[in-house]
Amino acid sequence: MHMHKYEKIWLVFGGITLIVFLSVIGVSAFAMGHHPPSDMTTIDPEKVKETAPFDDPGLKKIGDNEYEAVMVAQAFMFGEPLEVPKGATVHFKVTSADVVHGFSIPGTNVNMMITPGHINTITHKFDEAGEFLIICNEYCGVGHQAMSGKIEVN
């Protein structure tokens, strides 16, 4: 098959670009542990309040400046405001007691869909002090626009 010289150039260029992109994503997924926030951990959505750890939601210290934030998203709140020291690593563990909600902290990579029946986890290190907002970014009902939470980083 005859191919123009330029055609070979851009095909090789495109192929290499694709390989580089996929390798970077592969390395960050398998070597650095980056993964989507939702996994296959499930929970009975009707028994959220009786199921551990969601029977006792809130912030728990699990290590040196490391916390686990167990939260139940439900129309139209995320629970009590959280307070963590600067530099804290927070492992969010969130599920929904009713419908699909969003869980997003603007300015960070925390952004996940909270699906009833599933437990969603994401980890974030709060390097800067300030007040962070948790917002629901999935339309969940008439009070959706008022659904927010707060994280105070001191």
Partner: protein, 52 residues
């Protein structure tokens, strides 16, 4: 012999026609510009992801 000659000359013409390549300078430039844009956007998004 005359027949062979004409066949030979016909083939040579065909070969020559195939060798005249279209000018693709503009196409190469456009492809590289689009490629560059994709690479820059990809790097931008990935850097944003890593930095936050």
């Amino acid at each position: 012999m005359a027949k062979l000659d004409s066949a030979k000359s016909f083939e040579t013409e065909k070969e020559q026609a195939g060798k005249t390549e279209p000018k693709l300078n503009g196409t190469l430039l456009s492809v590289m510009l689009v490629g560059g844009f994709i690479i820059l956007s990809w790097i931008g998004v990935y850097a944003l992801y890593l930095s936050r």
